[in-house]
Symmetry: C2
Subunit: 328 residues, 2 copies
Amino acid sequence: MAIKIGIFGYGNLGKGVECAIQQNQDLELTAVFTRRDPQSLSLLTTGIKAYPAVDAPSMKDEIDVMILCGGSATDLPQQTPELAQYFNVVDSFDTHAKIPQHFDAVDKSARQNHHIGIISVGWDPGMFSLNRLYASAILPCGKDYTFWGKGVSQGHSDAIRRIEGVKDARQYTIPVEHALEAVRSGSNPELTTRQKHTRECFVVTMPGADQQKIKEAIIHMPNYFADYDTTVHFITEEELHRDHAGIPHGGFVIRSGKTGSSNEHNHIIEYSLKLDSNPEFTASVLTAYARAAYRLNQEGQIGCRSVFDIAPSFLSPLSAAELRRQML
Amino acid sequence: MAIKIGIFGYGNLGKGVECAIQQNQDLELTAVFTRRDPQSLSLLTTGIKAYPAVDAPSMKDEIDVMILCGGSATDLPQQTPELAQYFNVVDSFDTHAKIPQHFDAVDKSARQNHHIGIISVGWDPGMFSLNRLYASAILPCGKDYTFWGKGVSQGHSDAIRRIEGVKDARQYTIPVEHALEAVRSGSNPELTTRQKHTRECFVVTMPGADQQKIKEAIIHMPNYFADYDTTVHFITEEELHRDHAGIPHGGFVIRSGKTGSSNEHNHIIEYSLKLDSNPEFTASVLTAYARAAYRLNQEGQIGCRSVFDIAPSFLSPLSAAELRRQML
C-alpha cells in the first residue's frame, strides 16, 4: 500500500513534488490543491485531479501526508499550522529568523490533532543545516562556512524587476573562488559577506530606458546589492530566454576543524550541491521527508520536527536491515 | 554533570578519543582499559588511570558509555557484545560484510542488559554511509560513487611489509582525478575498481634486497594490488619517517541524479573529507555518538543502532531549540 500524498500549491515547487512522487514507488499522488481555478491546471499525473484549496479538509481521510508548496512570507505561516489539524504536513519554510515561532505554531496544532509536522525541509534550511550540525558535533574546535551559488536568487531578481525601466532580470549569486580555497586550506579566515559572494545581474530594459541610471540603482540598492561586488549586464529579451531560463542553484557547507593533543591536525568536511533545478531538488527533499512523516506518525509520534530530529533511516524506502547490508 | 566515558583499547584510535573528549565540555574521561601493562601507558588526561581490560566490568556503575577502540578483525566481534552487558557501547566495526551478524550479536547483548550499542561509527562506515543514504533517498533516480583517498591504507601497507626483504612501507590510495571529474559532470559513468583509484607505495628495503623482485611482488599481489595501477618508490628509512609519518585519509561520496517530468535536470550531491589524521577523525565521530548513546539510553531506549537509526540532534551538546535557532 503506497503512502498517499497531497500537494498544496502548484507552482514550481508543487510541480517538482509531483515529479518526485513519480520516482518513488512507495508513494502515490492523491490530489493537488490550488487557490487558482483548478480547471486551469494541467497535471502531469494521469487520473489525478486538482481541487480548490478550501476543499482540502474534506479529504483528510484520503491523504496520509500533505506537502505544502507555498511561500514562506505569507502562505506557510498560516497554512502549515492550519493544515496540521487535518494532515501530517511537510513544508519548506525558509525564513530563518522566524523558524522558532513557526515551529511552535505547527507543534501546537499537530499535537492537538495527533499529527506529525516537519518544517524547514529543503537544502537551506535542510540538507545544509544537517551538514552544519553533523560537522560541528564531530569537530567542536572548528568553524563553519556556508557559501551559496552559483545560482539564481529569485528575491534579488525580483528586486531588480521593480526598478523603473527594467522589463525583466535574472540575478546569480556566485561564491568567490579564492574565498572557497582559503576555507578549504584550513586557515579559518574571517570573511565578510562581500568577500564570500559576488552578484551578477542580467537585465532587459524597456525601450528608451536609462541603462546607466538602472545600473547605479542596482549596485547601490541597500540590503540586496550595496554590500557586494555586483556586475550588471544588459541583454536582449531573447538572450534572457535563451541563456537564463533555468533555475540552477547550489552551494557549499564547509567545516574546518582541529584535533589532536595540541590541535595539530586539521580536517576539512565539505558538502556541496550543484543543482540544475532549485525547486525540483527542494521538492525531492520534501518528498523523502513526507515518507518520514508518515512513518513517524504510524509509530504514534506527534508534534513538530525539523530535519535535526529525524533519524536518516526514516527517509529511505529500504528496511533497516537492507540499509545496513547495502549502504553502511 | 558530564557524561562519563571509558576508553577500551589505547592505540591511535583510543588516544584520539582521549583528545576528542577534551574538546567536549559535557563529556569527561573516567578510565582507560588496556590489555597491555597499564603502567606502560602514559595518558594525556591528568588524574585519569589506565586499568587492565579485565577490570572493566567492575567499573560498570562509574561509566556511562564505553568507547571501544580495538580492531574489527578479532577484537570488536568479541568485545562489543561482551561489554554491552555492562555498558552502553560505541564501536567503529568496519568489516562491511560482517555488519549484519555483528549488529545482531550486539543487539542481543544490549537488549538483555538494557543498554544501547552503536556500531560501525566513523567515516566509512559512518559519515560516508549517512551521505549515501540521504542522497539516495533524495535522488532515487541516480547513482552513487564512493572514492577513497588520498590516504594511507594500513592494510595495504602491512601487506607490503610482509614481503621478504621489505623493512617498512607506506601505501597511499589515490582517487583518479578524471574519474572524479566524469562523475561530477553528471554523465554517470560505469567505473571499474582500477578506473577509480591508483595505489602508490613507498618502500624501505633491507640491505641487499632485490628491489625489482619486491616491486613485482607488490604490483601482482592478488586482492591488494593486482587490480590497480600501482606505483612503487624505493626510499630510505629517513625519508619514510620524514615524509610519510602522518596518517592522512579522506575521500568523496558523490550522488548524481535526475529530476523533472522527463528526467531533464541533473543534480550532484558531493560530500568530501580531507583528514590530517584518520584515527583522530574517526575518534571524533565515535565521541559524538557516545553522547547520542547516553541520551538514547536515558530516554529508555535499548538495543543496537547504526548511524542510520539516530536523529542528528542527539549528536550535539546544544538543545533542540538552540539547534533550530543557530543551525537550521
